[in-house]
Symmetry: C2
Subunit: 185 residues, 2 copies
């Protein structure tokens, strides 16, 4: 199973593709960030991000797209821009008939680090460890997109990936197994 994770944002939109292997191991396929200048027109920014998303979908042909739910505590202006990119990303997948799932930050943290209260650094360190990377992908949006894609793979495997459901227990079980797998030589 190949998953494209999208951490939506107007200034930086994180993109991460992973493949699920056997024994809950997950491999990095590609990671990057679509950037647009804050002083550009909104229409140009959305068109740029949509074009890059289309490129990634054409190049990697994921089986699913996982999008991060907008973080409720952010300010209204940020929520609007992030939601606009989220709409564009979900539409890009829908146009291709690719299933889309939305995961909350807490679900992503719980799946990847084993705790919904993990901090960003812990989650990013776990992403690097799970994927066997020598260092944490930069910027944070890129690492977050990979965390989302990993979360989706494991929640799908645990049967908790349907939008609107939440099951940290099953996700944590998947995480524990995966963490054991990364420890093997």
């Amino acid at each position: 199973m190949r998953v494209l994770g999208v951490d939506p944002g107007l200034t930086r939109c994180g993109l991460g593709v992973v493949d699920s292997l056997s024994s809950r191991r997950v491999a990095l396929v590609d990671v990057g960030v679509s950037r647009t200048p804050p002083d550009a027109a909104l229409a140009d920014r959305l068109l740029h991000i949509a074009t890059e998303l289309d490129d990634w979908l054409d190049r990697y042909r994921p089986d699913a797209v996982a999008v991060e739910q907008v973080f409720a505590q952010r300010n209204l202006h940020t929520v609007m821009g992030t939601s606009q990119v989220m709409g564009v990303a979900i539409l890009a997948a829908a146009r291709r008939g690719i299933p889309v799932a939305v995961h909350t930050p807490t679900e992503v943290k719980a799946a990847v680090s084993g705790s919904g209260r993990a901090d960003k650094a812990q989650v990013q360190a776990m992403v690097a460890r799970i994927l066997g990377l020598p260092e944490v992908p930069k910027p944070a949006d890129a690492a977050d997109a990979l965390a989302l894609a990993i979360c989706h793979v494991w929640r799908a495997a645990a049967g908790t990936a349907a939008p609107g459901t939440s099951g940290p227990t099953a996700a944590q079980r998947a995480w524990a197994e995966a963490e054991r797998a990364t420890r093997r030589p």
Copy 2:
């Protein structure tokens, strides 16, 4: 000049097309609402709205698209859904190279009714009067989309239609002229 007004919303997305005529008169071309059921998947809802938007853009080939800025006082969940549709609408226009402008509810009210504090009923009554309609278009989202399109025509004529600018004085001047025009036999 032909303008498509879009009042974004997931459950009801208002669509209204007007043509500007001489002497600031404005004529109705078409009005409608794209509806999606609240219990449908978000991806299906956005795809349905995007498909209808594409149909309207292909059928009416507007010179500009005017989108309503998300109303800040709404709750976060509504802001998210509305912003997602806003992103989809702006992208649809941008893909065709059609200029997009965003107008705030206050700008729309000021342009159409002469006051930024007008209530919805006053704005809708003015929309019907300006377009010479026997009654107010229903539902409210349809009338709001027409108000947006009229606002854009007049702000463009007054040179205040650039995104991020605000000039109720020029818009009110345009309104006063137009209101006089609608009084002519």
